[in-house]
């Protein structure tokens, strides 16, 4: 147990900075991912997500600061032995079959022949490509290519998997499969670093999230912490008038009125029964009262200005 306490984080990034000529891709980004976590790295396109991952897998070198994988620099082959990586522009040798490509990657990862023979069909099955390994990658659809890329990333049972937009080419069914795959990896104790601009995807699987915008880390934390303690109540009324809004204002802050639906921001969900009693006691008819957590999207949009910029 003492060993585990001293185990280095899966990813540790300190004051990471990357410039390309004059343009700054990353300003002073710091984050830590503990072993076994599913970590979501969120941000609009061009925010610096891919640059960060490329530094973490040794494809690019930082201009300043530190990046470590299990306590070692990514340039260390020993560090890279423990990672699996799906690049953003998942492209593989088109002349090869899926099986051959996986075999090549298995060799590079140091797997022996017996391991490769056993493991390749397993991962093909896991990503939904069972029986398709013999086809040339040239003939794969975009979605299939992304799937074979995922297979390549988890092939050698890495301790840390970095996925850069792993569902960009997948349909909703495929996205769900990837979510299940990520959860299965986490169940096996694998750390997952998920780069994405798809909020629902991150919300559905990640334990913790960091949001980057224009090369800066704007927020990091557990999903529940990110949203803050605030809770909202969504009320469906028979009618909305000034008197109603005045009564609601005693319990919290009216955030939105849409037809006969009112969203009320409150300090705690505990006030819900009191709110209901007040309204019914005043002669209003209440059709629904639901407590809602602000979604990650609300948080995200609030933090990241200008959307796609």
């Amino acid at each position: 147990m003492a060993d585990r306490a001293e185990a280095p984080p899966a990813i540790e990034v300190r004051s990471l900075r990357k410039t390309y000529g004059r343009s700054v891709a990353l300003h002073d980004v710091s984050l830590t991912v503990e072993p076994g976590e599913i970590f979501g790295f969120l941000g609009p396109n061009g925010a610096g997500k891919t640059t960060t991952v490329k530094i973490l897998v040794g494809l690019a070198r930082q201009t300043g600061g530190q990046a470590q994988i299990f306590g070692r620099a990514p340039s260390h082959l020993a560090a890279r032995r423990r990672i699996g990586y799906l690049p953003e522009h998942f492209r593989f040798q088109e002349w090869a079959t899926g099986y051959e490509m996986l075999d090549f990657h298995g060799r590079l990862a140091g797997m022996d022949a017996a391991e490769r023979r056993e493991r390749i069909p397993q991962v093909l099955e896991q990503v939904g490509l069972a029986g398709r390994g013999g086809e040339a990658i040239r003939r794969y659809s975009k979605g299939m290519t992304q799937r074979i890329g995922l297979a390549q990333a988890i092939l050698h049972r890495p301790d840390l998997v970095l996925l850069d937009e792993p569902t960009s080419a997948l349909d909703p069914v495929g996205r769900r499969e990837v979510r299940l795959l990520v959860r299965a990896l986490a169940d096996d104790g694998v750390t997952v670093f998920l780069n994405s601009h798809l909020l629902t995807e991150v919300e559905a699987v990640c334990d913790r999230v960091a949001i980057v915008d224009r090369g800066r880390l704007v927020r990091a934390g557990r999903l529940s912490d990110l949203a803050g303690a605030a809770v909202q109540l969504r009320l469906l009324m028979d009618r909305v008038d000034r008197e109603l809004l005045a009564k609601l204002a005693q319990h919290g802050e009216v955030a939105e009125v849409e037809g006969t639906a009112v969203t009320l921001t409150v300090d705690s969900v505990d006030v819900a029964p009191t709110v209901a009693e007040t309204l019914i006691g005043s002669g209003y008819r209440l059709y629904g009262l639901v407590p809602v957590q602000p979604s990650l999207e609300d948080v995200f949009v609030g933090l990241v200005e200008g959307g796609d910029g």
Binding site: L59, R61, L77, R80, Y85, H89, F92, L108, A153
Partner: protein
Amino acid sequence: MNNVRPVLTVARWTLIEAIRRRMVFVAVLLSAAFVALFAAGFVLLYGMAEREMAGVSSGVGTGTGLLAIAVVLTVLGLYAVQFMAALLALFLGVGSLSSDVDSGTLHAVLARPLGRGQYLFGRFAAFAALLAAYCAVMVGALLLVARLVAGYQALSPVRAVALVVLEMLVLLAIGMLGSTRLPTLANGVLMFSLFGVAWLAGIVGFIGGLARNETMINLGIGVSLLFPSDAVWRGASFYVQPASFLAFTGNAGADASIPFAAATPMTGAMLGWAIAYPVACLAVALLAFGRRDL
């Protein structure tokens, strides 16, 4: 051993790629066609010369005349082989790294526990092996044809092949060096231009030799130092010629030599340079590629 295994894995993968992309198939097919064409041409032209010579008279001059014709045919044939191999070497070297960088297939590969140097040497080893096999087979086939038809005896087929292979390594290495940073197309334009300039410099140097013009000779040497492909071919061409022919041209002075071939062996200094050149190219390539952000 742990350092060599990834290099071999990459080399093996590169060879499979060459086969799968039909490069090997096309090369074998065209080469077979070329050897057949050379054999037919050699038999035809040499036979014609033989009959003509026999008609004139029999004497010392006939033997030398026939020998000269055999040498010219063989040297030109080998020159063509060397030229095709050079194009192949440039073609392989120019896209050796950049094409996979451009397409993005290298990202997943280089995130593996694989050093950039290991990747680079694996690619180089595979292409070098392909080129060496190609040169050995083609030079061997042409010399064999000449021997069977005209009893042709090259001074040293082994040295000739070794030097032609060295020429290919020079071209492959400089092409790879460009490939570490330049996009494939830009690198291709640059390398083919340099190759053309080196060829021209070889001709300039040859004519300078005939005209005994120091400036032209020095210009030829200068360009050869920058891009020694043509100089190494000239070195190889010496060993391709028969000893008796070299003795004859040696007595007559450089004037009796033929363009595209040398009447004297390569100097030790130029040979040393030609060996150091690809090594230096690879060393610089390693530095350039090792630091590149992908």
